[in-house]
């Protein structure tokens, strides 16, 4: 059973193709990452999924049915560009947004209070939104997305602007929801989050899907031909080495991908000859690397 299915979905604005024959499914109960550089068509795709705009062609099925507004009561959407009414009290705001999602005022109040307890902002219920810090406003927004207990949760850049403590807090909430069988769609640039949370991904660029599938399989496809090296001494030779396909210096360590057919042991010996190696680890490529490489290739 798929929560949402996109089949050859296309959207153009004037002559600009925002989404170009996009096809993917999200399995119920899974966490899905919609990735892509700025302007790739992520938000345009999401807007079509929840009926803010209609596709020019192609088909979208939400909860197994063609789109209908009634289905939105089971969808929670956290837009990337988000805002709250500044002059409104937190509790009133949550009740209002809850009502728009189909709750009655009474249950909305209870749920809002329960969620605020869970996210440790109960003290702020009676305050006006403008008195809250940005992080707290984020949490309120988070609650507004989840309080009507949606089955399909769409989050556009959910962790931007949050401190690490709150990222963990919200991540735990999301994992809990996943355990309850909710479907979650992330749209983000933060690859480490996607890597930790997502079951499958779709990477889009210029409106087209350039890579999609199960995250583990995708990584396996790229193989364990990445090496992370920590060393003391001069490492610049690595850039010129025939053994190295791609080179990335992160300051404290470097990450290289072995050239086709190169042997990792040969590289280790080469590095050890010129510097003191403190760490040499063979690993799968990071999603970020896959992202950069795939997008770089399509742009080349």
């Amino acid at each position: 059973m798929n929560t949402i299915e996109l089949n050859k979905v296309r959207k153009t604005y004037d002559h600009f193709v925002a989404v170009d024959d996009l096809t993917f499914n999200i399995e119920a109960g899974s966490v899905f990452g919609l990735l892509g550089p700025n302007g790739a068509g992520k938000t345009s795709s999401i807007r079509m999924m929840i009926g803010i705009t209609a596709p020019d062609s192609g088909e979208i099925r939400l909860f197994g049915k063609p789109f209908e507004r009634k289905s939105l009561e089971k969808v929670g959407y956290l837009p990337e560009e988000r805002g709250l009414y500044k002059k409104m009290k937190v509790i009133d705001q949550l009740i209002f947004l809850g009502q728009l999602h189909g709750l009655d005022a009474g249950p909305a109040r209870q749920k809002a209070a329960a969620w605020c307890e869970r996210l440790e902002i109960s003290d702020w219920l009676q305050k006006k939104v403008e008195e809250l810090s940005k992080g707290m406003q984020q949490k309120i927004q988070f609650i507004a997305t989840l309080m009507h207990d949606p089955d399909f949760i769409v989050m556009d850049e959910p962790f931007s602007g949050l401190d690490p403590v709150n990222v963990v807090l919200l991540k735990d909430v999301l994992l809990e929801l996943k355990a309850k069988g909710k479907t979650i769609l992330f749209s983000t640039h933060q690859m480490d989050t996607v890597e930790k949370l997502c079951d499958s991904i779709c990477l889009i660029d210029h409106g087209k899907s350039v890579l999609q599938g199960d995250l583990k399989q995708i990584k396996a496809r790229y193989g364990k031909n990445n090496v992370q090296i920590e060393y003391e001494g001069d490492g610049n030779f690595l850039q010129q080495s025939k053994l190295v396909g791609a080179y990335n210096n992160y300051g404290n360590y470097v990450e290289v991908r072995l050239a086709a057919g190169a042997d990792s042991q040969e590289l280790l010996r080469a590095v050890a000859e010129r510097s003191r190696v403190s760490k040499f680890e063979l690993m799968e490529p990071s999603l970020e690397e896959i992202f950069i490489e795939t997008v770089g290739k399509t742009n080349a």
Partner: protein, 433 residues
């Protein structure tokens, strides 16, 4: 539908609780009423007495002119008092009326004229009337004053001197004092419409009409602009994005218009209730006259024309709010809507004097101006029922079209950020299915 009411309810409750609502409820009628009626009160409440010097060749003529001047002033005071209340107040209890204090001088030398001019200049006296025998014969009298632009003073002086000359002429022909008195008696004119209904006191009627139309204009403008600002705020704070995931653009727009409009209607209801309480209380100078002035048509017409004008203009303002990105941008674009809304305010004095003229009738039919101008004509008892019917139908059609177009602009506009759309782009939005 459910969403519409939730949105409208929020809009209503958030606004009605603000201090701004209470302030405008009191301030709009107070300011408008004040600017119209206070000058009148000042006028009748005594005003200042003017000190004049009257120069004539003989003392008798001077006294006749001076009598006439004071008689005119008294008549004027009585009229002003009558306009404000029809209570029969004994003359001695009347507020001290403005009078002329007149010194008579028979020195007609050029030096005297020079000296008087000097006195006027130094504010020793307020004016000098140079009514020498020569001047009277030539029918050209000089009035030396600092306020050469004060038309009413000049007319009073002219009228008094003319009267005096007439009187003296009649006396010299040997007419009896009684005949002369009779010839001088004022004729009163009362306007009636063809059905024979009197229009009450025309001046008061006019003032009341202007007062009501201006308050109506202020209400439409105030709440129309509030719709625009609410849309703009939702757009710039990005609340719009959150709302769109559950509500449709047309629900958002309609909810805004209904919610803000209800705030305005509440305000109108408060004004009507306050007005009713006032007219039934003993505070009202003369409730019969007030009822004469403000008919049920005028009372019911106010909320009706407020709604018609408001819905029409607020839909336009909502579209403007949706197509702009900031207050500054909207400032300029909103002129497109505000200027047509201002036209009735400029037309109102013309309509007041010529309510049946072709221009007035046309303005009361064209939907841009009709809510205010038709209401004005109704208040002046000049609109025929069929004219009112046509005007209402045209307005409803116009409202339907405007809402249709605005909803289309709104739907696309709220998702557009960045540059201000050009006119061709907006046309394209409207054409989207």
């Amino acid at each position: 539908m459910r969403n519409l009411w939730i949105i409208a309810r929020r809009e209503y409750l958030e606004r009605i609780r603000t201090k701004a609502f209470i302030i405008t409820t009191i301030l709009i009628p107070a300011l408008m009423g004040g600017s119209l009626f206070v000058p009148m009160l000042l006028l009748s409440g005594g005003g200042s007495s003017k000190h004049l010097v009257l120069v004539a060749s003989d003392r008798h003529m001077a006294e006749v002119i001076s009598q006439q001047l004071n008689r005119l002033k008294e008549e004027e005071n009585e009229q002003n008092a009558a306009l404000l209340s029809q209570r029969e107040v004994p003359k001695r209890e009347m507020p001290r009326a403005a009078r002329f204090q007149i010194d008579i001088d028979t020195d007609t030398s050029a030096e005297q004229r020079q000296a008087l001019a000097e006195k006027v200049k130094n504010k020793k006296i307020d004016g000098a009337i140079w009514a020498t025998a020569d001047a009277l014969t030539a029918r050209k009298v000089a009035y030396i004053t600092r306020d050469t632009s004060s038309l009413s003073d000049q007319m009073e002086v002219a009228s008094a001197v003319s009267h005096a000359v007439q009187l003296e002429l009649l006396r010299s022909k040997g007419l009896s004092e009684a005949d002369i008195q009779a010839s001088q008696k004022r004729v009163e004119v009362t306007a009636e419409n063809p059905t024979g209904a009197k229009n009450g006191n025309p001046v008061l009627n006019l003032l009341a009409m202007i007062f009501l139309v201006i308050v109506l204009f202020m209400s439409v403008l105030l709440y129309g602009v509030q719709v625009m600002q609410a849309v703009l705020e939702e757009k710039s704070s990005r609340v719009m994005e959150v709302m769109l995931s559950t509500a449709q653009p047309k629900e958002l727009m309609a909810g805004k218009i209904v919610g803000v409009g209800a705030v305005g209607l509440t305000q109108v209801a408060i004004w009507i209730a306050a007005g009713a309480a006032f007219s039934f209380s003993s505070l009202a100078a003369n409730s019969a006259q007030l009822k004469d002035l403000i008919s049920w048509k005028v009372v019911l017409g106010f909320p009706l024309f407020y709604l018609l004008g408001y819905v029409f203009y607020s839909a336009l303002y909502a579209a403007i709010g949706a197509m702009c990105n900031s207050q500054q941008e909207a400032q300029q674009v909103q002129q497109l809507v505000t200027i047509p809304l201002m036209i009735p305010a400029f037309l109102i004095s013309y309509v007041a004097q010529n309510p049946g003229a072709p221009l007035s009738v046309a303005a009361s039919m064209i939907p841009l101006t009709s809510p205010l101008i038709m209401y004005a004509r109704i208040a002046l008892n000049s609109a025929a029922p069929w004219e009112i019917a046509i005007s209402l139908v045209l307005q409803l059609v116009a409202i339907y079209v405007v809402i249709l177009l605005s909803a289309k602009i709104y739907r696309v506009g709220i998702l557009m950020y960045g540059k201000k759309p050009t006119l061709p782009e907006i046309m394209k939005w409207i054409k989207y299915a």
